[in-house]
Amino acid sequence: MIEANALTKRYGATTAVTELTFTARSGRVTGFLGPNGAGKSTTMRLILGLDSPDAGTALVDGVPYRQLEDPLRTVGAMLDATWRHPGRSGRDHLRWLAATNGLPDKRVDEVLALVGLTSAAGRRAGQYSLGMLQRLGIACTLLGDPRVLLFDEPVNGLDPEGMAWIRQLLHTLAAEGRTVFVSSHLLPEMAQTAQDLVVIGRGRLIYQGTMDDFVAQTSEHGVRVRTPHTDELRAALTGQAEFTEDGGAFVVSGLDSDRIGQLAFDAGATLHELSPITGSLEQAYLDLTRDAVEFAMPAASPSEATR
């Protein structure tokens, strides 16, 4: 379990994270979502004791990270897959890391096999492709067989096959009862991976809950109704709900389709269409984080503004 309590971190004049409170539970994949610059990496560094918070605490299984003995046995974290010496082989990179926490060389070969890097383990890491570096990074997180895992943008720059592999791995790790905390700025990716969701923008918490609730809460965008009896329907809806009208088509918000159907029936309006509009998940996320994008695009192209 990971618990952040009112975490605040300032770098000079900029506040990267402001009173951030959330929990990532064990046995679940928790997605950590936010636009670029929202403070995701900062939060992870605070959890790992790499940076010191100005206020608040971060606990891993109830303990501050810096108090963990042999932390690799409790927490595996990949903040950036490119953190390696290009002249050192993948195996040697794992060997020194294993030795820091008294893990045997045998474990190095095990994790190399686990991520499918055995045949390339002797090559200098400077020659690795990004996909291989991600695998090496993941091997590092698995070394100590930890109960808690953190990944910062693990699928960035990967091909579809690599993405699928990582997604599968995260599910497997969570199914084994581990806490899996994975950040991304891409909601569709998260929707396929995470069961729980923590959304931040400009260093503040925007949403915490399950992915299912998030989808349910944010994807209702109204009901589309078509009728030849526009006057009757307009009269029935007025005062009951907000709606927009375009010819014979209405878009009604604030009422569900059952209720609208009943109102139309009572008013004697024949309906040719009655369909809920489910906005895309992506749209919901963009709506949620619109005000929280650090570097917004010029307003001339509003649809691009939140990408």
Binding site: L48, G49, L50, H85, G87, R88, L97, A99, N101
Partner: protein
Amino acid sequence: MNLLAVERIKLFSTRSPWWCALITLALTIGFAAIIAGATPSDSQLTLPATQFGGSQFGIAVVMVLAALAVTTEYRFNTIRTTFQAVPHRSPALIAKAVVVALVALVIGEIAAFGALGLGMLMRPDDNLGLHTAQDWMNVAGLGPVFAISAVLAVALGILIRHSAGAIALLLIYYLAVEELVQLIPKIGAHIHEWMPFNVANKFLRGSAVVDGPAPSDSPLSPGWALAYFAGIAIVFLLVALGVAKKRDA
């Protein structure tokens, strides 16, 4: 003990330490060969002359090795991975200083005795050998001086974090600053007496040596000179550890 093994694996699994070690040996022993070859046959090759390469060039290259051992960790962010694995930080950094110092010690001993051995081979009639305590310090003392210099360079590497910056500062200091301090009127000479590499030279060469670079003007005895030099390196290391512990990685 784990952490010493960690730093040993790190150091020997990249190429630059090997190159630096080879260059140090080549400079030290090679310079002894050049001096031995260039000394006229009717004059004597002295023991201190076989050691100029080590005490003048060798230290510089060993400090480059030591600085790189830590600055490349900052360059490639493995220092963050290290701090993730060792959140108290200081034990990992002390282990690095110890391992680098031991490697520097070994390089220094091989370089110094190699230089002396080659001199003896090339000038068998010059009565070269370890006849006095000063002779012993001049040769066997190179290892400890290399080791302490390496600790100084590791400390500076931790503080500065950038390879080019740390190496430039070390070399400019070593090659120029201590000499230039003497140019300050009135107090320059007194400051120079306490400059660390000048004091280290007192340990290595004493003050009776007449040939080669000017002998050290340090008022300390050779033993105290070594202790002073080591003390300065340890103070720098402690400052570096304190900074590294507080700083965001």
